[in-house]
Assembly symmetry: C2
Homo-oligomer: 334 residues x 2
């Protein structure tokens, strides 16, 4: 049997920043994201009669190290099903390489979705998000479409740290424009950045407390479909996350001077009456949140202001889904 | 009698950021600065037979509002001396207008110094720093030269919140290069910025705590004349101060994209083996701390990298001093 699943990437509006358990990927704060249609991963899984799992990414066989990560991930599904079969994983990332965007969110969500079907586990998406989480924290949220909350949970074993859908993609009133500031590999991974911040930044406890308040406000804003309130909370959460890294020891920042130029322009446009808000993750790229209807106009405005800045528009995307199930006619050759 | 006093400006290495008492200018955290020789204020005071104090700045008669501030300041000296005479204040700020640098630090220090002599109060510099403080917080530190600590104090009346000298200017191993990023008047005054941060930023308590630790480390670094340690603590304190404003509500920043470009260059040069560190106050200008001997070389390097960036070098400056005392020959005309 060959199962193919697709999952879209997501961008947090209330950021996930810092793990209380590094092994189980348990966060200190709940986060809230928008799943996006522009970037996704398609993953095909099948059983193989080999001694080890096999992992191909974009058609290329991956290193032992990369395969080991995937094997550890698959093992949880094997344990659940008691089927000790090895698996071939073929993944295609439809994330423009130039985008400098993390594909791990869509990758682990698609893989969890596909393995659920292959091992006939019938886990719910909430349950699957617990497994996806253990591959990459933010992948938890890619199981669902539209606005999604990743509830941090309080249990030590992480069984209450999962994603829940907040608003379906067709109901979400906003889209996002990705501004590709710099596509170089970042010097400090988000994992390393988070850990350094948790361990050394005097601002970390303030971050955790204010993220909780912001999340409550954000859910109210979403319930009212209040775009300015959604946007303001989004920009504030991003600025706060990036402020925490300036307090780390040694201090660091993911933002480049040009990131700040774009952020400033977004704030200026807002003063002029436009509805647009900036958010940035563990990298220099700036994403601009705006009403769906204004996305083209705004992209044009960016082009006029920064002619050399590459941009990609995205609307709310759907949750992880099974694309196809191909039954293997085992006896065909006989 | 005509008394003329001079005081130099200072730049905090461990920043002062936030008041626990807005009226008495009492800070939440102790700070530590370097008094600089490049910028200063000369102030002449004399008694006049008029109904109100008179205040001239750079030769121009000042508004009622500005004069009222100065009168409130002078009143404390009148109260101490029981002399109810009105005063004429003539101030000259030797701070390049283009520098966009606050001159209030040197202004109130010079005025306090001059009034002490005019009213024959014989207050010590420590005591004078308590009065200067009530004109402008940072002026407290301009009473002394070189490295100066402003001890925050704990008393409600502010009598234990004053400056103490840490290291004489000739002993200080560092100088500073001012990079004049933008000379426009800032939109958010430091007073307003501080208050908003104290009241709304979730990072403020972290700031206060870490400033205390940084100050202890800084005094150790100064005792050892350990320039890299002095520099690292300086840059960290500045980054932390600016991080707190990103968490304020609404968020704000004094730094411009170009400020970040200069900061990044300073960090790059350090990677290349240069000894230089950035610090920024409530404005976009970046000041670069470096060993005295390397100041010219570094200024040259800045010129090569940013040909249009105006820079001013400064070495450690001396404390406030009396320049001249002119006795009035009252009977001369008879």
């Amino acid at each position: 049997m060959k199962v193919t699943a697709r999952a879209h990437t997501n961008i947090a509006l209330i950021k996930y920043w810092g793990k209380r358990d590094k092994k189980l990927f348990l966060p200190y704060n709940s986060s809230l994201s928008l799943t996006l249609d522009a970037f996704y991963t398609d993953t095909t899984v099948s059983f193989i009669d080999q001694k080890e799992d096999v992992f191909l990414l974009n058609g290329e066989l991956q290193s032992k190290e990369e395969t080991q990560k995937i094997s550890t991930f698959i093992q949880r599904f094997r344990d659940l099903s008691s089927l000790e079969k090895k698996v071939k994983v073929e993944s295609w990332n439809h994330v423009p390489t130039a985008a400098g965007l993390a594909s791990s969110a869509s990758a682990y969500a698609a893989l969890a979705m596909a393995l659920n079907e292959l091992f006939q586990l019938s886990l719910s998406k909430e349950e699957l998000s617990i497994y996806a989480r253990q591959g990459s924290g933010s992948s938890t949220r890619s199981l669902f479409g539209g606005f999604v909350e990743w509830q941090k949970g309080t249990k030590q074993d992480g069984t209450d740290s999962y994603a829940v859908p907040i608003l379906a993609p067709e109901e979400c009133p906003v889209g996002m424009i990705f501004c590709l500031i710099n596509q170089e590999k970042k010097k400090i991974s988000s994992r390393e950045g988070m850990n350094r911040t948790v361990e050394t930044s005097p601002f970390y406890s303030g971050w955790v407390e204010s993220a909780a308040t912001d999340l409550v406000q954000m859910k109210k804003a979403i319930a009212k479909k209040d775009i300015p309130m959604i946007g303001e909370l989004t920009e504030k959460s991003a600025l706060k996350m990036h402020a925490t890294t300036l307090g780390a020891n040694p201090p660091f920042t993911y933002l480049e001077p040009f990131s700040w130029e774009v952020i400033r322009k977004v704030q200026e446009w807002r003063q002029e009456g436009h509805t647009c808000y900036a958010t940035m993750d563990a990298g220099p790229n700036v994403k601009i949140l705006c009403p769906k209807e204004e996305i083209s106009l705004l992209q044009q405005k960016i082009k006029e202001t920064f002619p050399n800045l590459e941009t990609i528009c995205s609307l709310p995307g759907s949750g992880a889904q099974i694309l196809s199930i191909e039954k293997n006619e085992k006896k065909k050759g006989y």
